[in-house]
Subunit: 500 residues, 2 copies
């Protein structure tokens, strides 16, 4: 019996290896398409990605896979295999529920929609994009019904990105968070203390920005023998394999913030993937457990470390050694306050720490209503602008700076946005837990990032998908999702900066 | 009937598309492994290449493929499909003749041998590599027997790289060529006129070398919207798809020749792949027709254009605008003669135009004898050195500069080397043919490379694998392989340079 199981496990691992080979080839192709590919090569490459994705999908839903699941479920003594079987079963069930024809049509619709969205955004022409978005919403509603849910149809979509978190969770947490944030925002707006962001701008050559961020990445413990840093338009991190986890960034020579904070952010994602236990190699568990937990890692490094006073206390000197001479006359305190300026803005990815979650809530409310059929796609531009005024007090001049700004919906990704805000709340909870083991201010001020990385690896990274997101939150923080830590962190930070 | 054939052709094209998707994914992976991959990611990536190659091999030898070959051979009215079926049949028959177990074992041996060779070369330790090379030779003999041949077992291997060319062809051509080259070499050695290569060296920053070669690549008509230039250790060009053909180069900051002539060389390969007719897209015909014809394109651009007097007459000024100031005092004539210095050297890829074919002949004679069982692997180091003395008058200090210098045998590539010399002879024949249509000196001196590129596209590039190498040679030059043009070209060139 045991021998049979061991043989089965060996064969199962072979199938996983095939899946992984496809996954790795797809990831490399995606990295290349977003960093290196010459313009005219894209069209044909897109077909290759489609083909490889289809092959992966076939394996994930194959009879062979079903056989392994049936034979190994609850029958293996190997913990990694057991969790892998669970994961494969979930993928199998989820994908099997969608008729193959609909899956193929949806994949083609996604590709087409992204191209149309790109043009629509450039032209600020929502009507052009509307029919595609309508179809995407319809498909997602259909799929959600195939997958099933208990309370709210939107839960079925949320599950894909943040298993365990439901509409009910979000509806409980977001209003509290919103209330605290808007109240803090009001106080900030009324404060007479204002950071001066103009001290930050001015020409800063790309290669010098790059040199500084390379130093910071190395200090964070990002392993360049298992990764590299390239340029792109929309920065991302990607695990091609466990020993090839790449980060990308974008340089604005007039404003270093994009590259510096963006690289630290993507570096946080990459550290997660680089430090997953080698025991999970070759299984689908060798990946971040959810979008929310992933985002907690990037936001932790970007905000809780990279935008902290302790960080700049030691790193401003290093920064100035790379920066142009106009920083010579900028004192540390003015610099620190400037990189933490709070100001309502149209674009989510340019938002400050305080207003960022408000951008997410707007998207959450709209997509939840869309999927529930409470609003129509045609209503989106108008509702978006209304909410922007309501939450942030500003109205986008066109849909380009409004409803058309993000790619997510064009790719059919409904249920994804909340993970950004969840990740942010998780990060604050992790910070609170970490502070019990480490004197964070002094660790950061000493640039002793190894201690932070080791803490994150021990508590989070190593497990990959062996643990579900809420399992990690509960085990590491001894409580469930709780927005209070984020509110406390922001209140504390901005009280100091804005002299509230 | 016609409808059935059309339907069949449509299905056949679907299968070709799948093959192409694998080919493209493999090519991208290879490019990445040779230019970008972080060190620790290589081991896992090698498995991905192995997996994808196996999948491609399965399709190429599938029952489905056999079905299409049988159903479409001599039955289609579509010329591209007809040639594609021929090509697929050849691949099918060739691969089917090798038992699957042996194929797999051989692929693994290749990978292992390349790694061992790398170390053996570093250590100049032939004995370490010998057992692997012995096995590789044995496999190649076995495969050659599976494939079959008429006169000489080595023909079966030659066919893979240069179909139509046989041992008989080479044994007819090489001695003539050798005689002319060595006689020319003797005259050169006796000449009192000597170029001074020391004028070429000295620090030349990488980014300036790069800027110059980018200018030259653009002038050649290399399309950067369908390609890019990266750094690597062993430069190559690769067609990932028809609109993504990349070149690579290597910079020596103390000697610009490696990057400048190397980039023009790889650019010549790339122009071939970029200018194959769009009608061949999606078929295996959208590739260079043979190694020899491919090499004729790269050598044509590198030597017949890039090392010509006409080229430097116009480009020396441009070159100097990028070059360091010590070139200011070097006059054009001294520069031109220096980049064309003839000097026997140990390393093939560093050889000058005149001695290069002699390096090839040494390898040809040795591998022919090995495959025919006339010599043993253990004899190689000794025989190599003997031939070096015999052909070039110099003896390598160690096997690193001798028999261990090239990767080809470590990869099991026997029969590949002759295509370098064939390509060189083809290039001279093409130049002779081109000179009937174009005033080459004045076209080059005017930097009017579009005319050359268009001529090559019209006569060679567009056809991809629609025509066999000898078909192209015969149609374009109105004769078969003929070494006289290469001899005439070299005699003419060196008579001038060395005042013979």
């Amino acid at each position: 019996m045991e021998n049979n199981t061991t043989l089965l496990e060996k064969d199962f691992r072979e199938l996983l290896k095939e899946q992984n080979a496809y996954r790795e080839a797809i990831a490399l192709t995606q990295w290349d398409m977003r960093t290196k590919i010459p313009k005219k090569g894209i069209e044909q490459r897109a077909e290759v990605v489609g083909f490889l994705s289809e092959k992966l999908h076939q394996l994930e839903t194959s009879e062979k896979m079903k056989y392994f699941i049936d034979m190994l479920k609850d029958k293996t003594g190997d913990e990694v295999i057991a969790k892998t079987v669970e994961d494969c079963e979930e993928t199998y069930e989820r994908n099997k529920k969608i008729p193959h024809d609909e899956f193929k049509a949806y994949v083609m619709l996604q590709a087409k929609s992204e191209a149309v969205w790109q043009e629509a955004r450039e032209k600020a022409d929502f009507l052009m994009f509307q029919p595609y978005l309508e179809k995407l919403v319809d498909y997602n509603k259909k799929f959600a019904n195939y997958w099933g849910y208990e309370d709210n149809i939107y839960d079925a979509l949320l599950h894909e990105y943040e298993p365990g978190v439901t509409t009910k969770t979000l509806d409980d947490v977001f209003p509290k968070l919103r209330k605290s944030l808007t109240s803090l925002l009001e106080q900030i707006n009324q404060s007479s203390t204002k950071p001066d962001p103009s001290v930050l701008t001015g020409h800063f050559p790309k290669q010098d920005q790059r040199a500084f961020t390379l130093d910071v990445l190395k200090q964070m413990g990002y392993d360049f023998a298992s990764g590299r840093l390239d340029e792109t338009i929309h920065p991302f991190a990607i695990g091609i394999n466990q020993n090839d986890v790449r980060v990308t960034t974008r340089y604005d020579e007039e404003d270093f913030r994009m590259a510096v904070f963006g690289t630290i952010h993507e570096g946080g994602h990459a550290l997660y993937e680089q430090n997953i236990s080698g025991k999970l190699a070759g299984t689908p568990l060798a990946a971040g457990t959810s979008m929310g937990i992933h985002e907690s890692q990037s936001l932790f490094w970007e905000n809780f470390v990279g935008r902290s006073k302790a960080f700049w206390q030691t790193h401003y000197q290093l920064f100035k050694s790379y920066a142009p001479s106009h920083f010579d006359t900028v004192i540390l305190d003015d610099f620190y306050r400037a990189v933490n300026e709070v100001k309502a803005s149209f674009i989510r990815i340019e938002a400050d720490e305080l207003t960022y979650p408000l951008h997410i809530m707007i998207r959450y409310e709209l997509e939840k209503a869309l999927i529930n059929g409470d609003i129509m796609v045609a209503d989106l531009p108008h509702l978006w602008n209304e909410k922007m005024v309501d939450y942030l007090g500003i109205k986008p001049p066109t849909d380009r700076e409004g409803v058309l700004q993000d790619i997510h919906w064009a790719g059919g990704d409904f249920g994804y946005f909340p993970s950004y805000a969840l990740g942010y709340m998780y990060a604050a909870q992790f910070q609170h837990a970490m502070a019990k083991d480490l004197n964070l201010d002094s660790v950061i001020a000493n640039g002793d990032f190894a201690q932070i990385r080791q803490w994150l690896t021990k508590n989070i990274h190593q497990y990959g998908k062996m643990k579900k997101p809420l399992e990690i939150i509960n085990e590491v923080t001894n409580e469930s999702l709780n927005p209070d830590y984020l509110v406390a962190y922001l209140t504390n930070k901005y009280t100091d900066i804005y002299n509230l």
